[in-house]
């Protein structure tokens, strides 16, 4: 499955992936890398925020429950940063309506519940980036 990795000859779209679960982190990183994205994967919320500040990505995939800063905390910081319009997809095992409501209320562009389909995740990432252009 090919990815819309920017214009021809342009550098690949950068995606930040933050998840404290190594399985999820590795497979999302692999899936998006295979699709042509340049992925920076980090294991916690603090690293995610540091990575965002150091080099804002074009899209972020954040786990909600992470040590240090949660995905919701990082999302809030992103929305208050100099780059508030970076699309953010929340990936979480928290599946109650109220959890999803909270994610969107804080400013998530999409919310994917675990267990998830990696293929569907890629479609959503592609769609978010297409809409953001």
């Amino acid at each position: 499955m090919s990815a819309p990795a920017g214009e021809p000859d342009a550098s690949p779209v950068r995606v930040l992936v933050a998840d404290d679960d190594a399985d999820i982190r590795d497979l999302v990183e692999f899936k998006l890398t295979q699709a042509g994205y340049a992925v920076e994967a980090v294991p916690d919320g603090i690293s995610a925020w540091e990575a965002f500040e150091a080099n804002p990505p074009q899209l972020a995939v954040l786990d909600v429950m992470m040590p240090g800063l949660s995905g919701i905390d990082v999302l809030r910081k992103i929305r208050e940063s100099e780059f508030p319009s970076v699309p953010v997809l929340l990936l979480s095992a928290k599946s109650r309506d109220s959890d999803v409501d909270t994610g969107f209320a804080v400013g998530a562009d999409d919310y994917v519940i675990k267990p998830f389909s990696p293929r569907e995740l890629l479609h959503r990432v592609n769609g978010m980036l297409a809409r953001a252009r």
């Binding site: 679960d21 399985d23 999820i24 590795d26 497979l27 999302v28 692999f30 899936k31 295979q34 409501d101 209320a105 675990k114 267990p115 998830f116 389909s117 990696p118 293929r119 569907e120």
Partner: protein, 352 residues
């Protein structure tokens, strides 16, 4: 005096000795776990890349999945454990491919055998694996496991049946709540039933007539959660006649979510001060949820109730009923209940 001092010293030595032993035990257990994790990581290292390739859905030619099927001995055991963990995180074709690897390894057949193991830990793990592997043909075995002597196994079997999602298991799961001495926790049963799709509607309607109050409560709760409006007649009956107060409260809440405008009258009737306070509160909240303005006069009267929480809930309900509801708050603006309700509503709106 000397004997007392000797006893004190003796007891201190024994306690200190026990503490030292405990520390040694904790360190030994942690060291063993650490060493086992390192061994597992080492064994998984040559297979990790293939596992991630399959799990991410990028194994187009099936080569990675085939590599996983070759694992033998301890590597296979560790890999199967990793696959089971992975199955709780992904779904779709990659999950099916990983289940196939487990089948080739014989892990699914082994889990079927383990369901009758003497060890309850093995039985619980076996049920979990069968659920994660979506092994639909094992539903009858898992239904039997709902009556296991160990609550962990019963929970695991219900979890597995929820993952498999076969509505044919809904009846047994609901019935397991009320099983004498070996009952299934209501929350576990509700979670499993939630995953079984729309095919459970009739089972829930039957469940609302069950002899066991917890079963009726779960059936009423889930009818609202799944928007099964065909259950409304039973919900109305439970609200009015059920001998169990929790069932009545749950039914009131469910009617608030599912009901029709005409249900406002029934809910209003149960806000009367002759009813238990918790039921009155549930009915007032349900009236707010229902949003039918026929309830405005009754809710306005409750603003003067002696229970401040009930008055606050009535104010909140009125605030959710548009202009007509807000108008009913005139003359009560300085009431603490109304001020609290307004504050809470504005906070909720701000956070949304």
């Amino acid at each position: 005096m000397i004997i007392g001092a000797a006893l004190l010293v003796g007891a201190t030595v024994v306690i200190l000795g026990a503490c030292v032993l405990l520390v040694i035990l904790v360190v030994a257990v942690r060291a063993r776990r650490h060493s086992r994790n390192q061994r597992d990581e080492m064994l998984m290292s040559p297979l990790r890349s293939a596992l991630i390739t399959v799990a991410s859905g990028e194994d187009d030619d099936g080569a990675a999945a085939e590599q996983l099927t070759w694992a033998t001995g301890v590597s296979r055991v560790v890999l199967d454990r990793n696959i089971v963990e992975m199955l709780g995180k992904i779904r779709g074709v990659p999950a099916d491919q990983l289940v196939h690897v487990l089948e080739v390894h014989g892990a699914v057949d082994a889990a079927v055998e383990d369901l009758t193991s003497r060890s309850s830990v093995r039985r619980a793990r076996a049920a979990q694996l069968l659920g994660l592997a979506r092994a639909k043909d094992t539903v009858p075995l898992l239904v039997t496991a709902l009556g296991d002597e160990s609550v962990e196994v019963r929970n695991s079997a219900a979890y597995a049946l929820g993952l498999i999602g076969d509505p044919a298991a809904a009846g047994p799961v609901l019935a397991a709540i009320g099983a004498p001495e070996r009952g299934l926790p209501a929350a576990t049963a509700a979670e499993a039933l939630q995953s079984m799709g729309v095919g459970i509607s009739e089972v829930l309607r039957d469940g609302m007539a069950d002899d066991n109050a917890r079963t009726r409560m779960v059936a009423a709760h889930l009818s609202a959660e799944r928007s099964f409006t065909l259950g409304l007649p039973q919900l109305r009956r439970l609200l009015s006649d059920d001998p169990d107060l929790t069932v009545r409260e749950t039914s009131a809440t469910a009617i608030g979510r599912l009901g029709r405008g005409e249900d406002a009258d029934t809910l209003v009737r149960h806000t009367a001060d002759t009813e238990p306070l918790s039921l009155r509160r549930a009915c007032v909240v349900a009236l707010g949820e229902l949003g039918d303005t026929r309830a405005v006069p009754a809710l306005a009267e409750i603003l003067d109730d002696s229970d401040p929480r009930l008055a606050e809930l009535a104010a909140t309900a009125l605030l959710s009923m548009g202009a007509e509801g807000s108008a009913a708050l005139a003359g009560h603006e300085d009431d603490p209940a109304v001020r609290t309700a307004r504050l809470l509503v504005s906070l909720q709106r701000a956070s949304a």
